[in-house]
Symmetry: C2
Subunit: 125 residues, 2 copies
Amino acid sequence: MKKEQKAADNPAAFERSSCPITNVLDLFGDKWTLLVIRDLVLGKRRYQELIVSPEKIASNILADRLKKLEDAGIITRQAYQQKPARYEYRLTQKGEELQPILEAIITWGLKYYPGTTIFPRIERY
Amino acid sequence: MKKEQKAADNPAAFERSSCPITNVLDLFGDKWTLLVIRDLVLGKRRYQELIVSPEKIASNILADRLKKLEDAGIITRQAYQQKPARYEYRLTQKGEELQPILEAIITWGLKYYPGTTIFPRIERY
DNA sequence: CAGTATCCATTTTGATACTG
DNA sequence: CAGTATCAAAATGGATACTG
């Protein structure tokens, strides 16, 4: 409700949305969202896998970001078992296409923060 | 002082910094920093040019971000006249190399936010 | 386990006023 | 103009407890 209300009430909202970068920043211009996307790109799919990142994301924040990413069509949430109901999160095509952004960030980050490394992609078979 | 203090006090800070993406997010994982970088990439150099972006960045926020970007070695601040002292902000080599990130964002943004456009680069001669 | 809910501290912002 | 200062409001975050 927040975003829509903002768009309706705030006359500046239109201008803001006319720039592609601004729109993308509305999506992940914060400390956590891109980290969640990183983990999904690396192959994580379950809540438990996502919650254990070294950055120690809080459970409420993770839940919030997963919801927002689903709303944005970046990920899907699919049940993989009943009782108890459990879900897997996967990138959609739209989400997969964020990968070049991540790669550009990684390239720059590795160069200017020497000693950093990216976790290996989780292999599934 | 804030960042350094954080690194010194917070035991989790080390883990956080071992990932290149996390480090980059510390730099521009917020609503405004990347917008400032966008404008600089587009050729803006002076405070007045930067302050008039359609997103209406507040003057204190702009000043803060310029300072942080300078501290990070992304931009330089050079006087171009005295009395009154006036400065130009330009991307360093390190800052120029952020361009691929911006380009990846723009590519994705243009695709998924149809109707958005990027401002033309300011031409100087 | 996979979230949801709550509560409070901290951070970020936005508006406005002020200075050289 | 190019910032700096102030300050209240809003957003965000972290810790913890709770539910099915």
